[in-house]
């Protein structure tokens, strides 16, 4: 088997099939990155998987999962002030969490330089929105490089690192889901480990000011704005923007992975427009764009998500008094979803119907309905057990349940309908508090995971105590960050690199002054239901901890032990009265119901946790 860690540390030049996230790690190594931080979130966790493949004693940089994206950004910032090239990576909405610190970075001289790697998610594959993080670049005067494929991820990170280190700045490398997860053969340069890394803490207040207060802000803001012009020239000199000249009077301006869709669509087009492919969508190369506009009668701006590029291109055309027709987004749909080859074909056909052919419409097929496959809680998941129990305890129509981010978010689906409103990480205690105001008839219950508790949940809990909000918080404590691939968190007893003291959730709550803390094993459904009834009868803030290690992770560890034998449950057909609680209300994917009502267990799915046994009214589920 090829060893990823060895591959990433290869010294002579080589090539390998890698995904964008892996190519990024090789680029970090070649660039001499010293500190890397993150909080897990799709589409970026495989960056950490690649880092983990390098044993700790051979890893050329320090890496940590921090408690949230803001802290991760601060750790990377601190390291950069001491002269280390630092990188922080997280998912799209992670930048919202990091924003308070992030927006200050351009007002500071970052001695070692800093690269912020973002995993934006056009198409909403695994996020709560498809926000376009280029807006943050505008707000904070931070340059953005935008690669289209794994090769460019590798090259552009190195460019971003050089730019950041040379100018003492933060630079964004904006990836999107299918850039992170694309795979191709990438040619890598050689790498020589530095003989003696410079560990000198080089922070020097004289290189500041680092206290951005009142009038100290103006010179730094001036500097940040002037830097943008230097960045613009630098990208030009590095020839990172590309012009593809097909000798046409029409042009397309595009960047990132959308460029690949354009290439694909134009492959079979005879009258090909020229293309200006931008490596950096902010700051834009104004002169290059003006020249491109001047050389064409008509220019289409093809831009995934929002219209930052279009607005600037139109403004440039106006400023240069150009008569070029600039064509941007035409309908609301142009703002929505990933710009796949199909979507780009539709848009280009609509723009230039006579030269860009439409989709080849496929022959109409028989309409056999295909059931949708929403993601669900895993077979044996403790959250299912908890939701099933809690549902028994909640008064049917006079309870409001508030969701948070994590696997337990999936409880909103049938048959549980637990957690009916969701904002973002750690928002549930706050939302729930608001829903208790003037509310004397409907009890409010909030759900929160343990990784999220540490990430952003604690301020909402403190607020509930401080302002005496009467609600029940159910803390689903499974000891891991399950949704993103089981990363350890502050309560796990391990960090990315070594064993640590687990920070006990219960003691944190007690220390904050929570008077009523109930705690039970997630799988003890009767006890959990009883505790919920007691908790909801109280008229003060209270917490119910439903605890068990994530069963998926737990079962995986069991399977690796010698002598392991699977012990799935089975249905005693003599006992089964076909009440269907297991299928209809408990709803574990392991149960199937035949047309005649017979229930069977899918042995491929059942992990043998047995949490279903207690749900059967006729005790027909057995080992």
């Amino acid at each position: 088997m090829k060893n990823m860690g060895d591959m990433l540390l290869t010294r002579p030049p080589f090539s390998e099939i890698v995904m964008g996230n892996t190519a990024l790690v090789r680029a970090m190594i070649e660039s001499g990155t010293r500190v890397v931080t993150s909080y897990p979130g799709s589409p970026t966790p495989e960056i950490a998987t690649a880092i983990k493949s390098i044993p700790l004693d051979r890893r050329p940089f320090y890496f940590e999962f921090s408690t949230n994206e803001k802290v991760a950004t601060e750790v990377a910032f601190g390291a950069s002030l001491n002269g280390h090239l630092a990188t922080v990576f997280f998912k799209s909405v992670g930048l919202n969490v990091a924003a308070d610190s992030f927006v200050q970075l351009s007002l500071m001289h970052l001695v070692g330089g800093m690269v912020i790697v973002l995993g934006d998610d056009p198409g909403v594959n695994s996020s709560q929105n498809e926000q376009d993080n280029r807006h943050y670049a505008y707000m904070s005067y931070t340059p953005v490089l935008e690669p289209a494929n794994p090769t460019e991820v590798y090259c552009f990170y190195k460019e971003a690192a050089t730019l950041a280190a040379t100018m003492g700045k933060a630079v964004i490398l904006r990836l999107t889901t299918h850039v992170c997860h694309a795979k191709e053969r990438v040619a890598f340069a050689g790498w020589t480990p530095p003989a003696q890394p410079d560990n000198t803490p080089r922070f020097d207040p004289a290189r500041g000011p680092y206290i951005p207060l009142v009038s100290a802000v103006f010179p730094k803001k001036r500097q940040a704005l002037e830097d943008l012009q230097r960045v613009e020239r630098w990208v030009d000199e590095r020839n990172l923007h590309r012009t593809i000249n097909n000798g046409s009077a029409r042009g397309i301006i595009v960047s990132g992975m959308v460029y690949l869709s354009v290439e694909e669509v134009l492959a079979e087009v005879v009258d090909k427009p020229d293309i200006l492919k931008l490596a950096m969508p902010y700051p834009l190369p104004s002169r290059k764009i003006a020249e491109f506009l001047a050389a064409h009668e008509e220019v289409k701006v093809l831009e995934e998500l929002d219209d930052t590029l279009e607005k600037e291109v139109k403004a440039l055309a106006f400023d240069h008094q150009l008569t070029t027709r600039v064509r941007g987004k035409a309908t609301v749909e142009d703002w929505i979803g990933e710009y796949t080859p199909d979507k780009v074909r539709d848009i280009l056909h609509r723009t230039w119907p006579e030269s860009i052919p439409p989709r080849k419409t496929a022959a109409a097929a028989a309409t056999v309905p295909i059931p949708a496959r929403p993601p669900q809680l895993c077979p044996g998941c403790g959250h299912r057990s908890a939701f099933h129990a809690i549902k028994q305890a909640l008064p049917a129509d006079d309870t409001i349940t508030v969701a948070d981010i994590g696997c337990h978010t999936l409880g909103f689906q049938e048959p549980y309908r637990m957690g009916e409103v969701l904002l973002c990480m750690g928002a549930s205690p706050g939302i729930a508090a608001g829903m208790t105001l003037f509310n004397t008839t409907r009890k409010v219950v909030a759900f929160l995971g343990d990784s999220t508790f540490f990430h952003a949940g604690i301020p909402g809990i403190i607020n509930a105590l401080f302002n005496k909000h009467n609600l029940t918080l159910v803390l689903m404590e499974n000891g891991t960050t399950a949704m993103t691939g089981h990363q350890d968190h502050a309560g796990s007893g391990r960090n990315f690199n070594e064993a640590t003291e687990a920070i006990p959730v219960r003691q944190v709550l007690a220390g904050l002054g929570v008077q009523h803390i109930f705690e039970t094993d997630t799988y003890q459904q009767q006890e959990l239901a009883d505790m919920m009834r007691q908790a909801m009868a109280l008229d003060t803030f209270n917490v119910v901890i439903a605890r068990h290690p994530c069963m998926l992770l737990f079962a995986r560890k069991q399977r690796k032990k010698s002598g392991y034998a699977p012990h799935p449950v089975r249905i005693d057909q003599q006992q089964c009265a076909q009440i269907h609680t297991c299928v209809q209300e408990f709803g574990c994917p392991s149960f199937s119901r035949a047309a005649d009502g017979t229930v069977t267990v899918n042995r491929e799915l059942c992990i043998g946790d047995g949490s279903c046994i207690q749900t059967c009214p006729t005790k027909a589920i057995t080992r």
Partner: protein, 189 residues
Amino acid sequence: MQPFNIYLCGVGGQGIGLLSEILLRAADYAGYTAKAVDTHGLAQRGGTVISQIRLGGVVCTPLIAERTADLVVALERHEALRGMQVALRDHGTLIYYNTSLEPLGVRLGTESEVSTDDIDKVCGQRGIVSHSVMQPDIPDPRMQNIVVLAHIHRHGLVPGLQTEHFLQAMEDLLTGTMLSANIELFQAA
């Protein structure tokens, strides 16, 4: 030359990722320029997993346009029908492992399960060649992906890929008893 487009789909946990990477690496060993992309948003939680591979010819993007896949590889029956409806060209080839992992609506009795007849019907209408694969006696259901791989190899469903290319790819990705068990199954299936 037009690229050869392979669209793979299944349910989280079935091993679409491994199957896809074996095919990608086998294609690379066979001398193709190949690009791939995985879509696995919340796959670990029982959602749909999709992987796309494009090889040969001029491949710009790894994303396959609607109904231009030459081959759809599915590890489950509902996903087979979904995959061929979304991605497969008329007169293309479908290979699927004939098992059913019930989607939520089927389990709750609000939607009907997809049957092999449903798949055969659509294949007949669209001139699709269908290969249904099943081998109940395998040691671990998570090896169904290798049963499908063996069938792809035996029937030459990806042009130009020889035995040694598959084996080299598997050796890149697996080790120890996992490697030997999977190679044994690949050669026997």
